[in-house]
């Protein structure tokens, strides 16, 4: 839901909810072990669990600064 809120807010953000068991190849590639897991720009950043918006925002900033 938070990811979708961010997508709605920013034209730069796309947010895709992925049903992990239907797409095991992708889940394996990003080493999904617990859900929800948020992967940023194909692995540039990762957040495990449901986190507050400032925390996801920080990880997004860290991931795109790379």
């Amino acid at each position: 839901m938070l990811a979708h809120q961010m997508a709605l807010e920013s034209p730069m953000i796309e947010a895709e909810m992925v049903e992990a068991m239907e797409f095991p190849e992708l889940s394996n590639r990003f080493h999904v072990s617990g859900v929800p897991q948020t992967t940023i720009n194909a692995g540039a950043g990762t957040v495990v669990g449901a986190v507050p918006e400032d925390q996801l925002l920080k990880e997004i900033q860290r991931a795109i600064a790379k």
Binding site: M1, A3, H4, Q5, M6, A7, L8, E9, S10, P11, M12, I13, E14, A15, E16, M17, V18, E19, A20, M21, E22, F23, L26, S27, F30, V32, V35, P36, Q37, T38, T39, I40, N41, A42, E53, D54, L57, I60, Q61, A63, I64
Partner: protein
């Protein structure tokens, strides 16, 4: 008679929940004919959902037959769902997607996201909005979830 995806009780609750819908919401569904275990169920689920409110509309596409459109919306999985807005003839794509069947707890996420899109307001903190407004690079968030 085919089995319904949503029973009468759920349909009633969803209909009531969708009273909060404000602006039109356009759902784009992309399925695939072969090798897609959850496509039919997902399409049926969406068909039943959009029946519960006149603010909701569904367009059904095929990932292969409508490859150009799928590319335009960057949908590469089936079932793939785009939850967009509509303003007259224009589809407002906010980059909101579901890949896979939105069942179980994801069903609740789906109907909440529809209400979110219909509000056209993210509801995020002012500080978050400020930082997001300054984003210079595209960000693709993929949130892995399971239906339970």
């Amino acid at each position: 008679m085919t089995e319904k995806m949503l029973n009468d009780d759920i349909t009633r609750q969803v209909t009531e929940f969708f009273q909060q819908l404000q602006e039109p919401v356009e759902v784009l569904y992309f399925g695939r004919k072969d090798d897609c275990d959850y496509c039919d169920d997902t399409r049926l689920l969406l068909e039943e959902l959009v029946e519960t409110s006149d603010k909701l509309a569904l367009n059904t596409y095929d990932l292969d037959d409508d490859a150009g459109l799928a590319e335009q919306y960057r949908v590469d999985k089936a079932p793939g769902i785009v939850i967009a807005g509509r303003d007259g003839d224009q589809i407002l794509d906010y980059g909101i997607r579901y890949s896979g069947i939105p069942a179980g707890s994801e069903f609740s996420s789906l109907i909440n996201t529809m209400v979110l899109v219909s509000s056209r307001d993210s509801g995020l903190d002012p500080q978050t909005r400020q930082v997001l407004a300054g984003l210079k690079k595209p960000v693709h968030l993929q949130v892995f979830v399971t239906p339970t």
